[in-house]
Symmetry: C2
Subunit: 355 residues, 2 copies
């Protein structure tokens, strides 16, 4: 049985993260009242470039002790390139969480919602509805590599892509299970014609796993043509599984096809619940609009719904989704990026009220 | 002065390559008559899976001697996965040409043409017109890596991404030069927030190169959001430069946004002309429609125009482009993938006649 008492670590991070996280919390509190849940929110100010400026590192040494015991992490966005280079801020925080808390599944829906206009001609609500399953701990995001002959004409840099049987099989198993629960169809993103070692291995494991899921139909596309197909035939896809990098690309491209990445949510999930999972919008800290109060809070709020689902409260999650959908149909309650007139707080309050 | 006599190696390859290459040759011959050019075409049947079936390898040992002296290579498509795994056929042919002939620039236009419907709402001819410049010899397509503990739970595969100063700088220089000739604007594809060694290096070299091109404006996008922007705001891009993998993805996605990858051409160019350059459509051998005579030959024909441009005959190249554009506006002369009724040969003959 899922517990009604939940201990959540809240990390706003940088930029618009600080503006949208409070709206996410507002909506979660509304859901708590409605569905009889009991949240305890602990806010943390590390994992931000402000913290880095003061301490010379993104997080305190004991960050794992501070948040490792929570039921989940509700995360905004991190990154402020004017202060800290992105690869320093990200590898010092978000990518640490994913790896150290073994959040090996990144789950990212791309669904065309009412009130949102797709950039694709002739596609309406419901026409696009896919779930992107991204490997989240290994692959192209590796920490092995280096530079030789620096500063000379012979300079060379190398970085390993690393795939392990454990790592590949567990993400495939998750994706196959999800496909079985949804339409019975799985698309695998590969590039085995060009990337000649890791990607044929990926294909090999897909073929192997397929044997234990005879009820799931599997398509395999090279990433280049798959990206093209997202634009030309997005309706053909349901569950799509990819490596860390391919999943990253597809989970921005998919939401773009559904009109905006401003509302796209994501879960960084440790399915075994040995560690807390982390829920965050797909968008980043958006330095260009930060501080103006105009950011769209829906990606954050939807991430809250995914968190509730993960913690065993599907009814409350569905309640938030229904509130998001009804709010989206009213231009006075949508933010400017969706052609509406609302600011961040107005939109967040409207969704909380609808819950 | 460009010579009017040109010695071309013709390699049809597999699948629809064998159907579209003759149409490309037909149109080149028409251009020769019109513009007073003199082609000698030598056809080669290696670099195909048929050849592999007979000889156990994709090409004869002396392939470099056989085609290295030609002025250019006019290439169809290679790959027939039922017979030969893709990474074997591709690494045994096309990827060899690119590397051994040091064709370090892959140049790929994405242009919305008359008569072609974009999948993007509200975009008409001329609204999308970009040039993708892809690094074509190193990066993610590497031959370093391997597998350990095969067949066990500890199994692990690794593959290096390799970037050299020589390799990165020369592709950037080409892209900056091209941007200077076109709109003065360059977009660099990166992923330095997640891929922490090679991609920050790529950014570093872009910054350095920028110093010598003060007249070119440079934008930098991470590949995930860049893919999204291609769909949301394709009009913002002119020249886009990326690594081998990122260029590969963008040069399928870009043409998809312009309606089809069936007409997209590409050049694999050795700018110093120490080796022959290779011109091929972006599409592959398309086993699903091969043998039916319905493939769209325009990607191949447009590649012929790029070849003429490269060999110093811009007027003849422009003649072919004008013929393509006028043919595209007539449904009776377009192939079925573009909603027309023509077969491959009818479309090819029409373009040849228009030249
Ligand atoms: C066939 C494949 C190896 C090739 C590539 O990835 O380079 C193709 O997709 C291309 O773009 O020319
Ligand atoms: C910020 C960046 C490192 C991150 C990623 O690439 O994983 C982001 O794009 C995401 O998708 O969560």
């Amino acid at each position: 049985m899922a517990s009604n008492k939940m201990n959540i670590a809240v990390i706003p991070g940088d930029g618009i993260g600080k503006e949208v996280v409070p709206e996410g919390v507002r909506v979660l509190n509304a859901a708590a009242t409605k569905y009889g849940l009991d949240f305890n929110f602990d806010e943390f100010h590390f994992s931000s470039c402000d913290y880095y400026k003061q301490h010379g590192q993104m997080m305190p040494d004991n960050w794992k002790d501070q948040i490792g015991g929570h039921d989940a992490i509700f995360f905004g966005a991190v990154g402020w390139p004017d202060t800290v280079p992105d690869h320093v801020s990200l590898w010092g925080s978000l990518l640490q969480f994913r790896r150290e808390f073994d959040q090996y599944v990144s789950l990212r829906p791309a669904k065309l919602m009412p009130g949102v206009t797709s950039p694709l001609a002739g596609r309406g609500p419901g026409d696009i509805d896919m779930m992107i399953v991204r490997e989240n701990t290994e692959g192209e995001y590796s920490s092995i590599g280096g530079r030789m002959f620096p500063g000379t004409d012979r300079e060379i840099v190398m970085q390993e892509t690393v795939m392990s049987r454990v790592g590949v099989d567990r993400i495939l198993r998750y994706a196959f299970d999800l496909a079985r629960k949804r339409g019975g169809k799985l698309t695998s993103a590969t590039k085995s014609n060009g990337i000649s070692i890791t990607m044929p291995y990926w294909d090999e494991r897909v073929l192997e796993m397929q044997k234990t899921y005879p009820d799931v139909t599997v398509d395999k596309y090279h990433i280049d043509i798959l990206a093209a197909m997202f634009v030309l035939h997005p309706d053909r896809f349901d569950v799509v599984v990819g490596s860390n990098l391919f999943g990253d690309i597809l989970s921005d491209l998919g939401p773009a096809c559904t009109g905006t990445i401003g509302i796209a949510p994501s879960g960084n999930i440790n399915p075994e619940r040995k560690f807390p999972s982390l829920f965050e919008p797909v968008h980043g800290s958006a330095p260009d609009i930060a501080g103006k109060g105009i950011a769209n809070p829906i990606g954050q709020i939807w991430s809250g719904a995914m968190m509730l689902e993960h913690l065993g409260h599907p009814e409350a999650a569905q309640g938030i989704m229904t509130a998001i959908e009804s709010t989206l149909t009213d231009p006075a309650l949508r933010t400017g990026d969706l052609g509406g007139t609302a600011d961040t707080i107005t939109c967040g309050k409207a969704i909380a009220a609808a819950v």
